[in-house]
């Protein structure tokens, strides 16, 4: 019986042109627009390596930390390269700045790190940020050395070098710099993550459609199903499984299209990406089932609610601009914690940007809890056996 329902529900879904469009074609069309629109913006806004000068005075020459830090950030043809550095006198640096050949220059004077720039802008900010971070590192190393001496341990050159490398590594890993400097990373990715989230949540439409077809108060077909001898939950299970399969196919098509045609790089954690997508699809389906069962309104109203919730969720999670995601994360974190679109987007984001998986698992579990609660509520609603009116 389950298989009978599953097969026919799948057949019905695959022959529904509207659903085919919204589930399969629309995300692909939107992805194509994203690719066309954002790739140009990103190329124009990507931060190039910044030309700077370093005043090579005695103080700088004497500081191993500053020398290594600047050399590390200026290493050519590496992903970490932030600066193209010329080592000059202060006079030459001033001339280069006046000729606009460099963004700014840096000098050590009386133990203070100074940055001289001619104007303000993104590149100037990055230079200032990097120098501040290195200066703080230097201070920290000094404090560590003092502490070790007070404990009767003489810090070795090797231990200090190790410490400075660790802190310097952190400077290069800082999101603000890395996002802007690393060509492989892009905020466009967030748009594609929200596109995946949207496709997952569009599964709610499938869920709603198949459930409506089995509810006596929502469709004539539902009346016919309910007067039959098959348990309502069994019929609905078969139908929703079909909806899930149809939805997964939609996601698979979207992945295939974005990877092979649009050349989107989702990173190298494919099993984890697949996992969060499966869970995201389940959350979408659960939304549709819950809306179908719990909302007392016409099918059109339910569809309107589903579409609105999905689109609003995607908007808040950064579909129309990554800034929105940051604003909501910062000022209304609870909203994004409850937003399934953000849970999916954020999980993918965490997989791509962070080495650790804590944030990813938090999102996966949040999605599972979200889906579980909605399904439980829907099951409770399905206990209703008779209607006041149909």
């Amino acid at each position: 019986m389950l298989l009978h329902n599953f097969c026919y529900a799948l057949r019905v879904l695959f022959r529904d042109r509207m659903l085919i469009f919204w589930t399969y074609a629309f995300p692909i069309i939107l992805g194509t627009f994203f690719s066309l629109a954002f790739s140009n913006i990103e190329n124009s806004e990507r931060l190039a390596v910044i030309d700077i000068a370093v005043v090579e005075n005695e103080e700088f020459t004497a500081s191993t930390l500053w020398k290594e830090a600047m050399a590390g950030l200026s290493k050519e043809d590496t992903e970490e390269q932030l600066f193209s550095t010329r080592y000059t006198t202060e006079g030459e640096a001033k001339e280069l700045l006046a000729a606009k050949e460099i963004t700014g220059y840096f000098k050590l004077s009386d133990g203070e790190a100074q940055v001289v720039v001619a104007s303000s802008g993104m590149e100037e900010t990055v230079l200032q940020y990097a120098v501040t971070e290195i200066a703080q590192t230097e201070k920290m190393i000094g404090q560590v050395a003092e502490y070790q001496i007070s404990q009767g341990v003489m810090p070795t050159e090797e231990s200090l070098k190790k410490l400075s490398e660790e802190v310097l590594g952190q400077v290069q890993q800082e999101e603000g710099i890395r996002d802007a400097s690393n060509g492989r990373l892009s905020y466009t990715m967030v748009e594609f993550y929200t596109l995946i989230a949207m496709t997952c949540l569009y599964g709610g439409m499938l869920g709603m459609t198949v459930v409506n077809q089995n509810l006596a108060n929502m469709s004539h077909k539902g009346k016919r199903v309910v007067v039959g001898p098959t348990k309502k939950r069994l019929v609905i299970l078969g139908s929703t499984l079909a909806g899930y399969v149809a939805q997964l196919l939609g996601i698979a098509l979207l992945f295939a299209y974005t990877v092979f045609v649009l050349q989107v790089d989702y990173g190298n954690r494919l099993p984890l990406i697949v996992l969060i997508t499966l869970v995201g699809c389940l959350a979408g389906l659960a939304m549709g089932i819950a809306a179908a069962v719990l909302i007392k309104a016409s099918e059109n109203t339910k569809i309107g609610v589903m579409l609105s919730v999905t689109m609003l969720g995607c908007f808040l999670s950064g579909m129309m601009g990554i800034t929105m995601k940051y604003i909501i994360d910062k000022h209304l974190p609870l909203v994004n914690r409850l937003n399934p679109a953000n849970m999916i987007t954020d999980g993918l984001y965490a997989l791509y940007y962070y080495d650790t998986l804590e944030r990813y698992w938090f999102d996966v579990i949040s999605l599972l809890v979200f889906a579980g609660l909605l399904l439980a509520a829907a099951m409770f609603g399905l206990r209703r056996q008779k209607y006041d009116s149909i």
Binding site: H220, K221, Q385, Y387
Partner: protein, 312 residues
């Protein structure tokens, strides 16, 4: 005959309105029971309550000797329903639709295949098995709707206005199909507001209005309830008022009216009335183009009982 359905004191209220008011009746095995009444009389509501789709305020419903409940799956297995609205999947073909709904009752594919074949033949859909519902005419769609409801060979069939808005050819086909189902042993509850259909196929009729039973019986028994036993119509022009007054005094006449072209006379008893009238017209040299006699219809019964027509 054993009663397959027993409805006792069924009451259904929508807020302050009583859609069904203390309705009681039985359906005997093998009979076709007609629920006759105008739109809004409570026919579909009664069916939906009997099928446990609607909550009802009071009363009880038993089928096959057991209480009918939403989880009475053994009872449901023996029931087939054809709803007033066509309930099929637009995305599936005629054959697939019947197979899907039949599959909710019959698991075995081979048996199902045979049943579908028979349902298709009964509905006269042999040539349309690969058609989608949107490719079918209104009449064929209704036939598909019926085939989906009866393919699993139910012992008890509910047909809720199955002939609404269909062409005469399809209507005849559907009515013949219903007779064939009864012949095959099914018990049928048939709702309609077409009195001709009821007279044609129903063994017994319940006349409903505003959720109440107005009358119950066979068609002939119900017609006995009509005030007039015979209606005679004479197509005549220029009938003088004095003649009309004399006609009214001819005897057995309950009512006589003239609208300028037709003289309509209702007789209390239906014997030898036409002969007397013709003799009078001949004596007075009143020339008419047509004269005919009719027995009272269920509509006349309904008119007498409620003061309104069935189709009002």
């Amino acid at each position: 005959m054993e009663a397959i359905i027993e409805v006792k004191h069924l009451t259904k209220e929508y807020k302050q309105v009583k859609a069904i008011d203390d309705l009681s009746f039985e359906v005997k095995e093998g009979e076709i029971l007609g629920l006759l009444g105008p739109n809004g009389s409570g026919k579909s509501t009664t069916i939906n309550c009997m099928l446990s789709l609607l909550q009802f305020s009071g009363g009880s419903i038993e089928m096959f000797g057991q209480e009918m409940k939403p989880d009475a799956y053994e009872i449901k297995r023996k029931i087939g329903v054809v709803f007033q609205d066509v309930a099929v999947f637009d995305e599936l073909t005629v054959y697939e639709n019947i197979d899907y709904f039949c599959g909710l009752y019959i698991k075995d594919k081979e048996t199902r295949g045979q049943y579908i074949k028979e349902a298709v033949a009964l509905a006269g859909l042999e040539e349309y098995q690969k058609f989608r519902p949107k490719q079918l005419s209104g009449g064929l769609l209704r036939r598909l709707n019926i085939a989906c409801g009866i393919a699993h060979k139910p012992k008890l069939i509910f047909l809720d206005e199955p002939t609404v808005a269909v062409d005469p050819q399809s209507r005849n086909h559907i009515l013949d199909g219903i007779k064939a189902l009864r012949k095959a042993g099914a018990t049928i509850v048939y709702t309609t507001h077409y009195m001709e259909e009821v007279e044609l196929i129903c063994d017994r009729v319940i006349i409903l209005d505003k959720g109440k039973v107005l009358a119950t019986g066979t068609c002939d028994e119900l017609k006995e309830l009509a005030k007039a036993d015979e209606k005679v119509t004479v197509e005549v022009t220029g009938l003088r008022e004095e003649y009309l007054e004399e006609i009214r005094k001819l005897g057995q006449i309950d009512q006589a009216s003239y609208d300028g072209t037709s003289l309509v006379i209702h007789y209390q008893k239906g014997k030898n009335n036409l002969l007397t009238l013709i003799e009078y017209l001949k004596t007075k040299e009143i020339y008419y183009s047509k004269i005919y006699s009719e027995r009272p219809t269920l509509n006349d019964v309904f008119l007498d009982l409620t003061g309104k027509e069935l189709r009002d």
